[in-house]
C-alpha cells in the first residue's frame, strides 16, 4: 500500500511537467546572468511569506476543535519550521545586494500578483477549511536545487555562488527537510478529507508557481523595451565577473 508521501509525490510529479519546463526555461535562459536578479526578486516574495504563513497556520491549529487529533501535532510542526525558515529571505536580499541591487530597492518594489495569489490561497484554506493544506504547499516548494546543478550554472553563466547563497543554503539544508517531511506525513492519521486537501493544495501550488515563473520570463522580456521596464529594477546594468557563455 502506497504511503501518504508516496502518493502525494506521485501526484505532484504527474502535474508538474509544465512547471518544470518553465523552471528550466529560467535556469537555462541564454541571458540568465541578466535575468537572475528578477528571478531572485520573485522568489524573495515567496520566501518572505513562508515563516509568517507557518505561524498563522500554527495559530489556526491551536484554535481547532479539541476533537481534532492532528491539530496539536501540526501546530508544533509549523512552529518548529517557522523558526527554521525565519530570516531565509535575507539571504535573497544579500544575493541581490551582491549583484548591485540595493536592499531598499527590492523591498520597495511590489511583489508579483502571482506570488500573492500563490501564498494567498493557502490563507484561504487555513482560515476556511483546515491548516493541514499548507503541507501540500510545502511538499511542492521544498525541493532544492542540487549543489552540483548550482555549480554548473555558476560555471556556465559567471554568476558567483556567493550571489546564489540562498540557493546554496537550501541545497545543503532542504534534502534533510524533504525526508523528514515525508516521514512525518506518513505517520499522520490522515482522513480522506485531509489527503484530498493536501493534494488540492499541492495542485494549486503547482498551478500558481507556473504563473510566477511565467511572470519572471515575461517581466524580463520587457527589459528590452524601456517603456515596459517600470516594474523591473532600474539599477545600473549589473557587472558580473565574466560574461555569459553558451554551454
Amino acid at each position: 500500500m502506497m504511503t501518504h508521501s508516496g502518493r502525494l509525490r506521485e501526484m505532484i510529479s504527474l502535474v508538474r511537467g509544465r512547471l518544470d519546463s518553465l523552471i528550466r526555461e529560467v535556469w537555462f535562459h541564454p541571458r540568465l546572468s541578466e535575468l537572475y536578479p528578477e528571478f531572485l526578486f520573485a522568489i524573495y516574495g515567496v520566501t518572505a511569506s513562508s515563516s509568517p504563513a507557518m505561524r498563522v497556520a500554527a495559530e489556526r491549529c491551536a484554535g481547532a476543535s479539541t476533537g481534532d487529533p492532528i491539530a496539536a501535532w501540526l501546530s508544533t510542526y509549523y512552529l518548529e519550521h517557522a523558526d527554521e525558515e525565519s530570516g531565509h529571505e535575507q539571504w535573497l536580499l544579500d544575493d541581490l545586494a551582491s549583484l548591485g541591487i540595493p536592499r531598499n530597492l527590492a523591498l520597495q518594489r511590489l511583489p508579483y500578483a502571482s506570488v500573492a495569489a500563490l501564498v494567498g490561497v493557502q490563507y484561504y484554506w487555513m482560515f476556511h477549511v483546515h491548516p493541514i493544506a499548507f503541507l501540500g504547499y510545502i511538499a511542492v516548494l521544498e525541493e532544492p536545487a542540487s549543489m552540483e546543478f548550482l555549480e554548473t550554472v555558476s560555471r556556465r553563466t559567471g554568476i558567483s555562488l556567493t550571489s546564489m547563497s540562498a540557493h546554496v543554503m537550501h541545497a545543503r539544508l532542504d534534502p534533510d527537510h524533504v525526508a523528514e517531511f515525508d516521514a512525518t506525513l506518513d505517520a499522520l492519521p490522515l482522513t480522506q478529507h485531509h489527503q484530498d486537501l493536501i493534494s488540492v493544495s499541492a495542485i494549486a501550488t503547482v498551478a500558481h508557481l507556473e504563473s510566477v515563473f511565467s511572470d519572471i520570463l515575461e517581466h524580463f522580456e520587457r527589459i528590452s523595451n524601456p517603456a515596459g521596464a517600470a516594474t523591473i529594477f532600474t539599477a545600473p546594468r549589473i557587472a558580473l565577473a565574466s560574461a555569459s557563455r553558451e554551454l
Binding site: 502518493r7 506521485e10 501526484m11 504527474l14 502535474v15 508538474r16 511537467g17 509544465r18 512547471l19 518544470d20 519546463s21 523552471i23 528550466r24 535556469w27 537555462f28 522568489i43 515567496v46 520566501t47 513562508s50 519550521h81 525558515e85 531565509h88 504547499y137 510545502i138 511542492v140 516548494l141 521544498e142 525541493e143 532544492p144 536545487a145 542540487s146 552540483e148 546543478f149 554548473t152 540562498a166 540557493h167 537550501h170 541545497a171 532542504d174 480522506q192 489527503q195 484530498d196 486537501l197 493534494s199 488540492v200 495542485i203 494549486a204 503547482v206 498551478a207 508557481l209 510566477v212 554551454l247
Partner: protein, 67 residues
C-alpha cells in the same frame, strides 16, 4: 466515466499524445476532489512538450523554489 476520460473531456489530456499505462493508473487512482482541482486549475497532462526531459539534468536537480 474514468478520471482519464474526465480529463480528456476537459481538454487536459491530449488524446493524440496518450498517457503511459503507469500515468493512466496514477490518474485513475486520483480522488474526485483531486480531479476537480486539476480541472479547476486547467492542469495539462500528457503533453509531450511539458513532459520533455531536461537535457542537462532533471527537475530534482533544478529544484523548485525555497520555502
Amino acid at each position: 466515466m474514468t478520471n482519464v476520460e474526465r480529463l480528456q473531456q476537459a481538454g487536459l489530456v491530449q488524446t493524440h499524445i496518450p498517457l503511459t499505462p503507469d500515468e493512466i493508473q496514477s490518474v485513475n487512482a486520483l480522488s474526485p476532489a483531486e480531479i476537480d482541482a486539476l480541472i479547476s486549475v486547467r492542469a495539462k497532462l500528457g503533453d509531450a512538450f511539458f513532459q520533455r526531459k531536461v537535457k542537462d539534468g532533471d527537475s530534482h536537480r533544478m529544484g523548485t523554489v525555497m520555502v
